[in-house]
Symmetry: C2
Subunit: 98 residues, 2 copies
């Protein structure tokens, strides 16, 4: 399994709106072949800091998704200020153990 973690920040005034946008996400990715799941985590000490964890059968599937219509549709729904998320880095992982 291939895992990405995107760290996302927003302005303090937009935290609730951004959390709501994640909760009402489009689910466009859910039927993408090779997609294995997504979670959005909110930091308890820094509520303006979110992690989006995505899971894929391979890195090539993830790269294919990034160029897909589903990805474009999801990103078209990103909120504007103050909830506009700022990408603070994407890291890539293999699962070593469960």
């Amino acid at each position: 399994m291939y895992v990405t973690i995107s760290e996302i920040h927003c302005q303090e005034a937009g935290v609730q709106q951004l959390a709501d946008a994640f909760r009402s996400r489009l689910h466009a990715v859910d039927s993408f072949d090779g997609f294995l799941g997504l979670e959005v985590l909110q930091d308890r000490r820094r509520p303006d800091r979110f992690l989006m964890i995505t899971r894929w059968d391979s890195r090539s599937t993830f790269l294919r998704y990034m160029k897909s219509d589903q990805h474009r549709a999801s990103h078209a729904r990103i909120p504007r200020d103050p909830a506009k998320p700022r990408a603070a880095g994407l890291t890539e992982y293999d699962v070593v153990a469960t």
Copy 2:
């Protein structure tokens, strides 16, 4: 759900040994009441960097586990140099969306 992410580093010479130690973990926590799962991720660009993600029904369950015999038993198995892991921070999360 309450989630913790522990960032763990080790010396380059110990990467394989630490990954093996995670793979052969004791599974002492698995039957702990309120424990919901654990994953160990290895950074693809920095293989000496691991994330341990743990999931619990509540923060109080996690704190109870940290004082438990199961936790002591798991930690007694931590490898020595060069695979000795160095804790590089623990962060705490709520799940906002899946």
